[in-house]
Amino acid sequence: MVDGSRYGVNDFALKIATVNGTGSASANGLLLQALFRMGIPVSGKNVFPSNIQGLPTWYEIRVNKDGYTARSPDFQLVVAMNPQSYARDIEEVVSGGWILYDDTKKLDDELRRDDVTFLGLPLAEMCVDEFEGSRTRILMKNITYVGALVALLDIDMDVVKGMLEEKFSAKKHLMDANFKAIDMGHRAAEERFDCPLPIRLESMDKTKDCVMVTGNAAAALGCVYAGATVGAWYPITPSTSLMDGFTEYCERFRVDEATGQKNFCIIQAEDELAAAGMVIGAGWMGARAFTPTSGPGISLMSEFIGLAYYAEIPSVFFDVQRTGPSTGMPTRTQQGDLMLCAYASHGDTKHIVLFPADPKECFELAVAAFDLAERFQTPTFVVSDLDIGMNDWMIPRLEWDDDYRPDRGKVLSAEELEEAETFYRYLDVDGDHIPYRTLPGVHPKGAYFARGSGHDKYGRYTEGSAEYIEVVDRILRKVESAGDHVPQPELFTAGSSSGRAAAAGDGSIGLVSIGGCHWAVLEARDELATRGVNVDYLRVRAFPFNQTVEDFLASHDRVFVIEQNRDEQLRKLLLIETDCPKEKLTSITYYGGQPLSKGHVLEGLAEHIDILEQPVTAGVAS
């Protein structure tokens, strides 16, 4: 057990346990938003069931004055509102922590712990007394516990009420009810408990240049800004909100006010196979088109992905990863699709894959994906995960360069075709492995037959060995050359003079990670530095890997690869695609479905090397 007393002002984690479908999500969102508006760095993780109503659901909030936003499983406070999950929730509070619960019904003595403080409030009873109608009573109970937290944590009540006013400005009766519930919870806590608790909040100034947004919303906005006009999809958790976002932003920015006509076309397909086909059909015509999906969808799309690879048709695929294999745990996160996306489809294939670490990169890499797909005339993947895609993240405000213009790659215009003597679709005219592309309907000379069957460099059907090999070899060189154009890895070097360089035997140590692991790795690395151990760190942002990745592996004696899957997929990709010897790379994996925590990283490292002055016990729960 972690000693809860070492946490305090603007540095703790709390967990709210409720029942899904009871409206707690909006109450929890309100709470998170209030902390953000108080200027305190904050992160929220929604741990929800694959269910519509009635099962346990949790919301985790971490506040951290230093800006660490990775998941922390050390909960100083648990708001236990769901008797179904009392046993587990009470167990998860750190020693010295607090449990706020509804004591309308007496708590079973067996659930009591001596090392934590129980804070009971008769929330259900209060709401039955004060509100009419069962639905209203259920909804207002959520707001009432927020009111109690305002008192317990010293949240700025003006901020909370200001948000309620914004939200319910058009619905006075709802605003009144919410105000009443907030005040009721606040008063009850003040009367019964010694408020605020030692873990509490103080306003800061650390969020003013930031926004809170989900990765899926940011990726959707990236698609709008990249100029995507066709989106095809089949609903699947956790990617659904990406298309919801694209719809919302397009309705806002892409509809002609006078005519109501739309500068976009969104098609809800019959399945993921069709969604992929639509994207490829639109890409063939020259539109920027994309589909958001998750691992099961990529499995279904794989046949089409191979077609787009071989016929060289730009297409963008978003894989918001969830826990596999098969249906897996649809509402839990993982990085289990790295290999799948890198080599999706049968036969020899290899794809451009981008790995955002937060919503800011979801936005930026979405735009980059369309440029890369068109420049290299190939399927391009943006691979995030449930944690990045569906949770609210604090990120620096997004920026946009109005001088940006899409990189459409090598597309011949009607004028160029008119002047050209001949046109052959798959000819490497410039020696850069990228052929010229033509769009249907533009010019008779541009006509060619796109096909997934064997073709020669002139675009003609072939079953000839040499002709076939010439084309597939060029395609390989083309995709590999993309490594020089994909986003560079992010590199953190151990520049500190005070610490010693981390060492395994005689050599230096490096860390490599990917995607959403980043934040836990950064935090762990900082903690190592405070213990006098400095390690270099490289975050991979794209596949194919480039020279920076190769150099990093070459320049360290031992490299730990931190990733969220069982099979060490990033490590294996690195071994396949670089010259790094096998024994140099060791994976530290966590694949239980929760976002990675600092503790996972430190505990994993501690198993392999003696770099810690004290054993790690914090931050490895679940």
Binding site: A276, I280, P440, Y448, F449
Partner: protein, 351 residues
Amino acid sequence: MSYITKPVARHKGTRINALGLTMRDYEGSMSTLCAGCGHDSVTAALIQSFFELDVEPHRVAKLSGIGCSSKTPTYFIREAHGFNSVHGRMPSIAAGANAANKDLLYVGISGDGDSLSIGLGQFCHAIRRNVNMLYVLENNGVYGLTKGQFSASADVGTKSKQGEVNQQGPIDPVNLALTLGATFVARSFSGDKAQLVPILKAGFAHRGFAFVDVISPCVTFNDHVGSTKSYAHTRTHMHEVVETDFVPIRSEIRTAYAEGSARAVKMHDGSTLHLRKVAEDYDPTNRVAVIEYLGGVVARGEVPTGLLYLAEAGADMHEFSQTVDRPLVDLPYETLCPGSGALAELQKEWW
């Protein structure tokens, strides 16, 4: 082989259309199908239709899936872009392409394996979406490339070349399309060009999903005695329900119709269809009655043909989606990107 180009030679007296093009200008590569294959006749009918409709070759987009029928888009209009996609998935490629560029003339060629087995789902949903295209199903009841297995359109009791009798009930694509709300449903026979060409032309003129099921016998695996998809069986069992004359825009009506015998239908593009009922009381615009009537014909072991059903109005995929009149591919980027000001404004809502 399919990449062997035909010599282009123009003879005196060759017919020339309004664009100054000959029929040869709408041809493609040499067919690699078996001699006598019904599909080649369908290709010939398509070429004649394009020619007579004065279609600009490069404004056509040809799509197909996988199978013998799906090879045929290489055999017509060499100056049109083509897409030979994956098995059973052509409808989704067509839907996406059409979403991006609504101004091209889309023709999809499929087969009974492609549309009724592996691609049944996509076929159905393209109908529901009412994708604006001509969809030709070259229907021969067998898998030819894999040597003669029954397809999903094989009738109960029909015999394979080896003498095996099919026991599973067929999927009737005409009945299916009618049930799913298709707005243009026709059936013809590859051996009856006089019937097929006007139907194909009407299909091009139709706005929305125009479905044409063409019985197109497989000479190698399904043209024997005992097969219900052979030339002989189809000729003797064809039951023409509706005769169709297609009158393009600005052309005069040369045929005189007896009063009450023909129904004129104005198409979206301004052309006119004359539908002559062979059967009394047949109303090709009444879906429920059409399904019932055709059911009776099929029950007698006959093959109903003609432009069997036509909905005079109906929203296509773009109307469902309320997209702009201009093709999406033609929209300048500047009209698509909201810019930095909008981004700053939007983010004020992000807490």
